[in-house]
């Protein structure tokens, strides 16, 4: 278990409540501090305010799409280096293709994900053992 003294901050932007909660639980259990956002607008605000160590960003979001969030994030001085992982259902391949051009670490297909695989990937990107 990672030390909770200075827990890494993870922002999860996902509009489907069940998925958002599952992700939150998953990462809380790994000792990460999870910040939740249910829509793109909140997601962008919290990203710029809390400056998380990693952002899990869903693409299909209300109020502001994942793509827009990414666009605007990358225009910010801090945001342009923020670590972002995109979450997708592959029903949005066109948007995904555009989003990938904005320098994200990777994208993960939600329906293919195993909890273990996801937590491993996230810890990798946060450089936690």
């Amino acid at each position: 278990m990672a030390t909770t003294a200075n827990p890494k901050k993870l922002l999860v932007v996902e509009d489907e409540p069940s998925l958002l909660n599952a992700l939150t639980d998953m990462f809380n259990q790994e000792g990460l501090k999870v910040i939740q956002a249910k829509d793109g607008k909140t997601g962008l605000e919290l990203a710029l305010k809390d400056k998380p160590d990693l952002i899990l960003l869903d693409i299909l979001l209300p109020k502001k799409s994942g793509l827009e969030v990414l666009e605007q994030l990358r225009k910010d001085a801090w945001g342009k280096n923020a670590k972002v992982i995109l979450l997708t259902n592959l029903s949005d391949t066109r948007t995904l293709a555009y989003a990938l051009s904005y320098d994200v670490h990777t994208y993960l297909v939600k329906s293919d994900l195993d909890v273990d695989f996801l937590t491993k990937k996230v810890k990798e990107y946060l450089k936690i053992k």
Partner: protein
């Protein structure tokens, strides 16, 4: 004995009186009365004779006039009848032309318009009854391509039909109306032949806005269905796995139940993916969107995505990628469908601890790759496994829809559509796919992909 004055006066009076009825009749147009020439010749005889001749001439001329009149009337009625028939025919033709739901324009060889139906002017957004006859076709027809750029006149379907002499169909052009609005249309242009020579061209066109809207609705539907179906599956899967973690130590039964949930969601995912692929292909939504891409990072990425499955089955992946592979010009999402299908099949149809070898080679034109010769420069990809293999008597049906080989049909879940889609997509990408296999030893799938697929199919 010479006449007396009284006798003379009486004679004159009588002669003149005899004429009065003639004049009376003549004044009402009746020239049928003959003049009675008196037996005894006198100074009036010449007058009488002259008058009679005149009457006969008038009579004759009247008769002629009447005959002429009759003939004229007959001709007139005949001509009128003919005209009505012509008008009727024309009306029928125009009715036919105008009842066609499509715009029709006929031009001569110099592209001057000689015929256009009402629908044509309607579709083109020109004023009612705008006379487009006699105008040069390109003056009326402002075509643009999908990106909004004006099309050069030489590329107009009509111009091409006149030049190339064959039927030209264009379904990806747009038209700009006089009010600057645009809409998509489908155009079919053909040359008009007479005596073996091209004398003009005919063009039929239709506003495609509705079709394009339907296409867009279909796309949106497929995307929505994809999202709506995949989300609950993710929910079940993740909570199943989280539950497993919560329960910590579990007995064999609990373990089994949780495995069933997880496996169930995996199957659902696969079926959803296949259904959506088929839906896209069948509704003709599969668009070819080429990009320049590198195959090696792409395949590595795919292997990463399949990580969980590979780990679960403890598959060993061996990569033999040639150095300095060139960029491939193709549609990545379509390529992904193909490679993902072949890889997941390889993983699926083998026991745990199996091995999959991936080979990618750069092939010059005319090179031979596993028995097939390439046309132009191509990438050769092979995916080999040491799994169950495909029985020889099933091999020729492996690419057909709904087919599953007998040796795996009852053991492993599958819809049988995967390889059908895979082959369709490879064909679509201008490539070739084939395989060889031995039961109990394994299967090798081979793909040849041209480095550049330019034409849209």
């Amino acid at each position: 004995m010479p006449e007396t004055l009284e006798q003379y006066q009486a004679r004159v009076k009588q002669r003149l009186a005899e004429l009065l009825p003639i004049f009376a009749h003549a004044s009402i147009g009746d020239f049928n009365q003959d003049v009675k020439i008196p037996a005894a010749a006198d100074e009036f005889t010449d007058l009488y004779v002259g008058l009679q001749i005149m009457i006969e001439v008038v009579r004759e001329q009247t008769k002629q006039l009447q005959t002429l009149n009759q003939r004229l009337e007959q001709t007139l009625s005949e001509r009128t009848a003919a005209l009505y028939r012509e008008l009727e025919e024309t009306a029928k033709h125009e009715a036919i032309l105008d009842s066609i739901g499509e715009g029709l324009i006929v031009t001569d060889k110099t592209t001057k318009i000689i015929l256009a139906n009402t629908r044509a002017t309607e579709i083109l957004g020109l004023k009612d009854g705008a006379q487009i006859k006699g105008k040069v076709h390109a003056q009326i027809f402002h075509l643009i391509n999908e990106q909004g750029q004006t099309l050069p006149v030489s590329e107009y379907p009509l111009s091409r039909a006149l030049k190339e002499g064959g039927r030209i169909v264009a379904t990806d052009l747009w038209y700009r109306r006089p009010d600057n609005t645009t809409f998509p249309l489908t155009i079919t242009a053909s040359p008009v032949m007479s005596g073996g020579k091209i004398v003009g061209a005919v063009k039929v066109f239709r506003d495609m806005t509705i079709e394009k809207n339907i296409e867009r609705s279909k796309t949106e539907f497929v995307l929505l269905a994809s999202h709506q179906l995949r989300t609950p599956v993710s929910i079940i899967k993740w909570y199943g796995q989280l539950l497993a973690k919560e329960l910590g130590e579990r007995n064999a039964k609990q373990k089994q139940y949780l495995v069933e949930i997880d496996e169930g969601t995996k199957r659902m995912n696969e079926v959803i993916g296949t259904l959506l692929d088929v839906a896209q292909i069948e509704s003709g939504l599969l668009k070819y969107e080429p990009e320049s891409m590198s195959i090696v990072p792409y395949i590595n990425r795919l292997l990463e995505d399949l990580g969980p499955r590979i780990k679960q089955k403890q598959v060993k992946i061996i990569k033999k990628f040639a150095a300095n592979l060139p960029q491939l010009q193709t549609d990545p999402k379509l390529l992904r469908m193909v490679l993902q299908n072949l890889l997941t099949n390889a993983i699926k149809y083998m026991d745990s601890g199996g091995r999959i070898t991936l080979v990618i080679k750069n092939l010059k034109a005319g090179a031979v790759f596993n028995g097939k010769q390439t046309a132009g420069t191509s990438l050769g990809i092979s995916i080999s496994d040491n799994g169950y293999g495909i029985p020889p008597d099933q091999q020729n049906r492996i690419f057909s829809k709904m087919f599953r080989a007998a040796n795996v049909k009852d053991k492993i879940e599958g819809t049988g559509i995967g390889l059908f889609i895979t082959k369709s997509v490879v064909d679509f990408l201008g490539g070739q796919i084939w395989f060889d296999s031995q039961v109990g030893k394994g299967t090798n799938f081979y793909i040849l992909l041209p480095l550049r697929v330019d034409a849209q199919k």
